[in-house]
């Protein structure tokens, strides 16, 4: 029995290699390889074929020819539509992240202060609506915000307004929809962080004469820094590329890069341009993330 286990263990790579290797392998296979495909497509030209782009290399008569079409990238730079769309997305993402943070932090704080059973219940309460597909809930919002919808009906019934307010199909509706959809993703990481705060720190502070307000800003918030960053990342980054919500709730003037990408891809049938756009989007956002990871890693090494 022992020799068998020993023999088996000889074939197993060392624990360290498994831990690094497993996620690396998965991500390599199911993200890196597809990404290489996307890069390849971004260098090709749209064509009428299956799949709808030309091959970038050709091997004929013992000559290997690689043709990289940079036209897609130059077009992206030349046409100001993409830049404005991207800036538009960044703006929406930034504002929504701030709104989620302002709304979500007190919520997470209150949950972390509740009793143990209440915490579980509250967390589930927050997450439950996200388990009914976002589409259904967005459609519910469409019903509420439309000119004939419940909100306007309520406002007119109470006499606050005499005229339906145009909310649906405007940027306001998009903000409401995005905050609605992404709030749980801000609350959860914040909660996971806040719940592990050491209460004795706050007690010590109050014993030393600090007001609750002061302790909050000087102790709780700095300690929650990692949670805040995690929550902001999980809201900001996906919202930049968000498509469904602006499509359903936004108006024609809601210019976001997700919709532009969708258009390039589907309406123009231009997979190469769409791919080039995706590569650029990835490059722009991934660089700060990598820098952030590096600075965090240095900090960890400093502590160890």
């Amino acid at each position: 029995m022992n020799t068998l286990t020993q023999q088996f263990q000889r074939f197993l790579p060392s624990g360290r290699k498994v831990v690094i290797g497993l996620p690396f392998l998965w991500l390599f296979l199911f993200f890196m390889l597809p990404f290489f495909l996307v890069m390849k497509i971004s260098f090709s030209e749209a064509a009428l074929a299956i799949p709808p782009y030309s091959e970038i290399y050709s091997f004929a008569e013992q000559k290997f020819e690689l043709m990289l079409n940079l036209g897609n990238y130059t077009m992206l730079a030349a046409d100001e539509l993409y830049i404005s769309a991207y800036l538009g997305s960044l703006k929406v993402a930034l504002l929504s992240t701030v709104m989620c943070l302002v709304l979500g932090f007190p919520m997470a704080y209150a949950i972390s202060k509740a009793s143990k059973e209440a915490q579980n219940v509250l967390l589930l309460l927050i997450m439950m609506p996200t388990w009914t597909a976002i589409l259904i809930r967005v459609y519910a919002w469409m019903g509420i915000l439309s000119n004939n919808g419940l909100l306007n009906g309520f406002l007119m019934w109470t006499g606050l307004t005499s005229h339906p307010i145009e909310i649906l199909n405007t940027n306001t509706a998009v903000y409401i929809g995005v905050v609605y959809a992404y709030l749980p993703f801000m609350v959860l990481p914040l909660y996971a962080n806040l719940v592990k705060h050491d209460q004795s720190l706050l007690e010590a502070a109050s014993d030393l004469g600090s007001s609750t307000f002061n302790s909050f800003w000087k102790i709780t918030v700095p300690l929650a820094r990692n949670g805040i960053i995690a929550g902001c990342m999980l809201v900001f980054i996906p919202v930049v590329g968000e498509f469904v919500i602006p499509e359903l709730l936004g108006g024609p003037e809601t210019l976001m890069i997700g919709r532009v990408l969708w258009q390039e891809f589907f309406n123009n049938r231009d997979w190469p341009v769409a791919s080039a756009l995706a590569v650029v989007m990835l490059a722009i956002l991934i660089v700060p993330i990598i820098l952030f990871n590096r600075s965090q890693a240095k900090e960890m090494e400093g502590r160890a």
């Binding site: 360290r16 996620p23 199911f30």
Partner: protein, 294 residues
């Protein structure tokens, strides 16, 4: 106390904000009229109709199934990745790994979906798998995507953990695997739970990825809903959403009930133990102390 009162208020307001559309959804699922904007009286006919609508119910079950598998796999994968990012000091390709882990978050879903589809098609041509796209391919796409979320949450937590406890355990002879399961995991449990819940939600919600990598006969709930709302939301959709809410509320109630019981049991056990020690240590003064020689 002032802070607490304010945050409690925000919590209530926030929950109200979250639940308002859900309430409307539930009410309208009982609407006898097909049009969402007209109230036609109370009726349960949409729920009854669901029993016949095997397509819709099938997609609900499929979505739930995929979401479960995704949550488990994403938490496992994401935690491993987070661990590597924060604990393993130096290895070749570290920056690349960091980028790989968070990249699925950044990449627009259309492109992730398309690229995975092309990958699966190429794989089918080269090695014969996956012959049919379906639940497995959707699960793979979702796991890759959700693992990024889990990794962000868990690594944030891992970074601020006090390393001395883990080091102490290892000094005392525990192997790294044991340390991980017995010490690290309980300390990051809320982050794991948060990551799992988010992955479940993301998988259930996802429309774009599933549209690309699904195959014939493997539609998910969002796909079903999106393709069915061309003519406006059907009340059956509201009925399905209400049922899901009901099911999860039941689960929430059970969780609350059992954790309350467990808490009460725990308190009682502590109380009993205290009473026991108190009664054992209280000796009537008359009883002589018989030789307590060791």
């Amino acid at each position: 106390m002032k802070r607490f009162g304010f945050s409690r208020l925000m919590l209530v307001l926030g929950l109200a904000f979250i639940y308002l559309p859900m309430l409307i959804l539930v009410i309208y699922s009982f609407n006898a009229s097909k049009l969402v904007t007209v109230w036609g009286g109370w009726s349960v006919k949409w729920y009854v109709g669901l029993l016949d609508n095997s397509q819709l119910m099938g997609s609900v079950l499929r979505s739930l199934e995929i979401a479960c598998y995704t949550a488990i796999a994403a938490v496992a994968l994401g935690t491993l990745a987070a661990f590597v990012l924060t604990r393993v000091t130096r290895f070749k390709g570290r920056t690349l790994f960091g980028g790989l882990v968070t990249a699925p978050l950044v990449m627009p879903e259309v492109i992730t979906g398309l690229s995975l589809l092309l990958l699966f098609v190429a794989m089918a041509q080269m090695i014969g798998w996956p012959m049919e796209r379906g639940i497995v391919t959707i699960w793979i796409a979702h796991t890759t995507f959700c693992a990024a979320y889990v990794a962000v949450v868990v690594s944030a937590r891992l970074r601020e953990l006090d390393l001395s406890i883990e080091e102490a355990a290892m000094d005392l002879g525990a192997r790294p695997l044991k340390v991980f399961f017995l010490i690290t995991i309980p300390m990051i449990a809320p982050s794991l739970a948060a990551g799992g819940m988010m992955s479940f939600a993301l998988s259930l919600d996802d429309l774009v990825l599933a549209s690309f990598v699904s195959g014939p006969g493997s539609t998910t709930l969002p796909m079903e809903v999106f393709s069915a709302v061309r003519l406006g939301v059907k009340p059956e959709i509201n009925a399905v959403a209400s049922l899901i809410l009901l099911a999860v509320s039941l689960v929430t109630f059970l969780v609350w009930y059992f954790s309350r019981k467990a808490e009460a049991n725990r308190k009682r056990a502590i109380q009993d133990a205290m009473d026991q020690t108190a009664s054992e240590s209280w000796q009537p003064a008359a009883k002589p102390m018989t030789g307590a020689t060791a």
